[in-house]
């Protein structure tokens, strides 16, 4: 099964993600270019971390308009699996494929460390079989998820919160670390699963995202 990883100008976790995918039996990483539009050869799409367009305006704001994102929106509308990590999560929010926005961290500084997150949904293509607690690294300056009361109420009611921080590092509302859409096929989160796929490099809690996909696509 082919998993496409989109490279935007300024993406810097795309190669890491492709390597993580290639570690998993049954998956093959396919590099996708932001100026292209063809998704016919892939079974799932990953929007990786980084600083697309330098994150200068708002994180993910410019990347959202790339040709590839128009295809990703259609792909998502067909109910097919899409995952956004860190900058990818920010892009998904800017593109309104996920609700809310990611604002600057509460204490205004970039933060790189391991966090514990609680897994609240295992019925998405990316979270099947995940343990209920994961330790994953974060590395972001803008991971403070915010939305208005009505949206928060709706997504909480609808069970769209997929991950919550055990100890909130950035001020995100309701400790939200990751979300899915109403259809559950689009998932976004701030922590980096692709950095936790090797016991020598800080654990393997990220592997489950990819093995989950193998099961779903099988």
């Amino acid at each position: 099964m082919n998993v496409g990883v989109v490279t935007f100008p300024g993406s810097n976790c795309d190669a890491d993600f492709r390597r993580a995918i290639d570690r998993v039996e049954g998956l093959r990483a396919v590099a996708l270019w932001h100026k292209d539009t063809d998704l016919s050869g892939v079974d799932a799409v990953v929007l990786p971390g980084g600083f697309s367009y330098g994150d200068y305006l708002r994180c993910g704001a410019i990347a959202r308009f790339s040709p590839m994102m128009q295809s990703v929106a259609r792909f998502a509308a067909q109910g097919r699996p899409v995952l956004g990590v860190c900058n990818g999560f920010q892009i998904l929010c800017e593109a309104h494929l996920l609700p809310g926005v990611l604002m600057q961290n509460r204490d205004l500084s970039f933060l790189c460390k391991d966090v514990t997150i609680l897994v609240e949904r295992t019925d998405t293509p990316w979270t099947r079989g995940l343990a209920n607690k994961l330790v994953l690294p974060i590395a972001h300056g803008d991971g403070n998820w915010q939305a208005d009361d009505e949206t928060v109420k709706r997504i909480e009611g609808d069970g769209q919160v997929v991950f919550r921080y055990q100890s909130n590092p950035n001020g995100a509302r309701n400790d939200v670390a990751g979300l899915c859409n109403a259809a559950r096929n689009v998932v976004g989160l701030m922590p980096h699963p692709e950095r936790a796929v090797d016991p020598l490099l800080g654990g393997t809690d990220g592997l489950g995202f990819l093995t989950s996909l193998v099961e779903v696509l099988a």
Partner: protein, 739 residues
């Protein structure tokens, strides 16, 4: 006619200019004077240091490219190389800490990827003034956010560094940035302008008036417009740099180019001149073709601009379109601005009119070189005398030390750096050396950066040797063999004989250390004139060292992690005393005495044995005992680090004689280890005569040391941890440094 006033503005002496005029057989134009002034600056020409740098060992079986190129290259086997360099951005960082530090990182990244290497890790070595100095907090905050902001966005993990605070840096902070990259041996690119007629292509960001020397700019002759106040600060754009990296690496795979070089200090001028110089050719540059960001720029300004994120490429004739296509893909511009010529002259035209015609050798090899007078400072003997200090309560001293600016936790800093992008960081910041795996190989590299300006000040030779010894020891602690180093020599004004003496002697120390420990210096940088109002910084050579780990990665920590381990000191026991120690500086406010002498033979034997101990899994913890002495090293292995819990230690202070010296003396050549006690015989077999002195057993929640049964240190690990962890965040939140 060039006037004395103009020479002064351009920091050239009458003798220097006279030489240029003789070679040219005419007066130089103002634009040419600007070019001469930057090419003959200390920064570009190394005129004061070149003679001394020649004493550094720069060759070895692994060295592929030594000093002289944009960065050094070392072969690590199986067709793979590592490429690295360190560079200072001291003055810009003092003026505008965020942008100054950011562009420092940007510059050193370009030095590495211009060689064809993909950067895989960054480190930095920082020096700030006293915490209580009104500028310090702002500088720390700005420099750290600049380094993080640039590296994080570019996508290189910043995995380590060092920070020291001392009054001598109050008016002159130091920011030395290091980057290492990897490449295949057959994919190395050089800054060469070969092939007569080949096109010279300008790529990357447009040129603005950034970084042009303020004094020269203000001169009315250079612009018909009224002089407006223009900041000369360079602003970095890590996003552009990331695109530039990808475009350059893609281009290098295409076989379309013969040479490439970043535009660093002195921008277009030095990059084009150096490329021509290395190839022995001339160049013709049509300056009006250079993409500009600002209106009304003159050839003078354009040649001296230090706008960031630009590179110069010499392509093969007829391949211009291939270059353009690749840069187009990455939304970057690529413009042909000139060609390689055979007359050895560096010519620039401006709308068809020649504005510069200077022989390349005049600007490179024939740049002035000086053997400046040296004299041992008249205060040197006096500072080497150790006054008598009365030892206080050792537990209180230890708490003071561990919460001091030089020894407290640096997590406030490195948590602002993405130290994991690249998904290869095996040992993260906070240990003796960082370890980063090389993708697609079974290798990893270990990285450390060190400097001890207190020791160098008190004795430049021993201090210089000590820096090398410490670097290699740090690498050995994670099981890595040192394969090369890069240095940054930060000193005061070399025209003062005392400073020149420090430079020459420190280089002798570095050279001796490198030779004895088989560590070639493959690249480096010199930063002189670091002084304010005649007060020089402490002499600060910093060294970044790269180690190699082949095959399976050893499981080694810098923290005790569990109870029941035997803790020992291996190597020589303290004999030296507290001269030059951190304890003397931090607890008594004194910079006095003789620093420890370095036994390089013993050092080498210790490193070899330690690497074996770590590789064979005989020890669980290895931690260098340098700064702060044995007491601080023992305290540090008890502290929590990330998921490691804190674990106490009960033991006996090793050695005999003066107790303070045994606690806080900073002798080289020793390391604290912890291991399962059943391994002791196997460990001794490897140590083969190197002393192993047992301290005690890990466990409990206190650090308790006795001396012949009498209590010496007894503190709760929680108390140590609180002092260590809270100091820097408290200070950076705006409060005074906690004591």
């Amino acid at each position: 006619m060039i006037t004395a006033e103009q020479l002064k503005k351009h920091k050239l002496t009458a003798g220097e200019y006279g030489h240029a005029r003789d070679v040219l057989g005419r007066e130089a134009s103002l634009t040419e004077l600007g070019v001469l002034s930057v090419m003959w600056s200390e920064h570009c020409s190394y005129k004061s240091s070149r003679k001394h740098l020649a004493r550094l060992p720069t060759t070895g079986p692994r060295v592929v490219i030594g000093p002289g190129e944009n960065a050094g290259v070392v072969d690590v086997g199986d067709g793979w190389c590592v490429c690295f360099k360190m560079e200072s951005h001291n003055h810009p960082s003092f003026i505008e800490p965020r942008q100054g530090a950011a562009t420092g990182v940007g510059g050193i990244l370009r030095d590495v990827f211009t060689m064809g290497a993909r950067p895989i890790a960054a480190l930095n070595s920082l020096r700030f003034g006293r915490p209580e100095h009104p500028k310090t907090r702002h500088l720390v905050d700005g420099v750290v956010s600049g380094i993080g902001g640039y590296g994080n966005c570019f996508g290189v993990p910043t995995v380590g560094g060092e920070v020291v605070f001392d009054a001598s840096y109050d008016g002159n902070c130091l920011v030395n940035a290091f980057v290492v990259g990897t490449m295949k041996r057959d994919a190395i690119f050089l800054g060469l302008a070969t092939g007569i007629g080949n096109p010279v292509i300008y790529v990357g960001a447009r040129t603005g008036r950034d970084g042009i020397h303020g004094a020269t700019m203000a001169s009315d002759e250079f612009s018909d417009k009224k002089a407006v106040e223009r900041p000369t600060v360079q602003v970095g754009d890590p996003f552009q740099e990331k695109l530039l990296l990808e475009a350059c690496l893609e281009l290098m795979r295409s076989d379309a180019i013969v040479g490439i070089q970043d535009m660093g200090a002195a921008g277009l001028t030095s990059s084009s001149v150096e490329m021509a110089g290395r190839a022995g050719n001339g160049l013709l540059l049509e300056l009006d073709k250079v993409p500009l960001r600002e209106e009304g720029m003159t050839p003078y300004e354009l040649l001296l601009s230090e706008s960031q994120e630009r590179m110069l490429i010499v392509a093969k004739q007829g391949r211009e379109e291939d270059v353009r296509k690749i840069f187009d893909k990455w939304d970057l511009q690529a413009v042909v601005i000139g060609r390689v010529t055979d007359d050895g002259i560096w010519r620039c035209t401006w709308h068809g009119e020649e504005v510069c015609a200077l022989p390349v050798p005049l600007l490179t090899d024939e740049a002035p070189k000086y053997d400046r007078p040296q004299a041992r400072p008249d205060w040197q003997d006096a500072v080497q005398v150790l006054p008598t200090v009365t030892a206080g309560d050792a537990s209180a001293d230890l708490l003071a030390l561990i919460g001091s600016p030089d020894h407290c936790s640096r997590e406030w800093i490195w948590s602002r750096y993405d130290h994991q992008v690249g998904a290869a960081t095996v040992i993260r910041p906070g240990s003796d050396a960082a370890v980063v795996r090389m993708h697609d190989t079974t290798k990893a590299i270990a990285l450390t950066v060190d400097g001890n300006s207190r020791h160098v000040y008190l004795d430049p030779v021993q201090g210089g040797m000590g820096v090398i010894a410490e670097g290699a020891r740090n690498l050995a602690c994670v099981g890595a063999v040192a394969v090369g180093a890069t240095d940054n020599l930060n000193f005061g004004n070399p025209e003062r004989p005392a400073i020149m003496w420090q430079i020459a002697n420190a280089i002798d120390g570095l050279a001796a250390g490198c030779r004895a420990l088989d560590v070639p210096i493959v690249s480096g940088n010199v930063s002189l004139y670091n002084e304010t109002d005649g007060n020089a910084i402490l002499p600060t050579p910093t060294v970044a060292m790269v180690g190699l780990i082949e095959g399976e990665l050893p499981a080694i920590g810098a923290r005790l992690g569990r109870a029941g381990l035997e803790v020992a000191v291996i190597g020589a026991l303290p004999t030296h005393g507290v001269g030059g120690s951190s304890w003397l500086a931090r607890v008594h406010g004194l910079l006095r005495g003789k620093p420890p002498t370095v036994d390089l033979v013993a050092e080498k034997a210790l490193h070899t044995a330690l690497i074996k101990l770590v590789r064979e899994g005989l020890v669980e913890v290895a931690h260098d005992s340098a700064d702060g002495g044995v007491a601080l090293a023992l305290a540090e292995i008890c502290l929590p680090l990330r998921s490691d819990a804190s674990v106490g230690l009960v033991g006996e202070l090793p050695g005999s004689g003066d107790r303070t010296a045994r606690l806080f003396g900073e002798d080289h050549g020793r390391v604290v280890i912890a291991y399962d006690r059943h391994q002791a015989p196997a460990i001794d077999a490897v140590l083969a005569g190197i002393p192993r002195t047992v301290v005690g057993i890990s466990g409990g929640s206190r650090l308790t040391l006795t001396d012949a049964g009498a209590p010496v240190i007894d503190v709760a690990i929680d108390a140590l941890t609180a002092r260590w962890r809270d100091a820097m965040p408290t200070y950076l939140a705006g409060d005074p440094w906690p004591v």
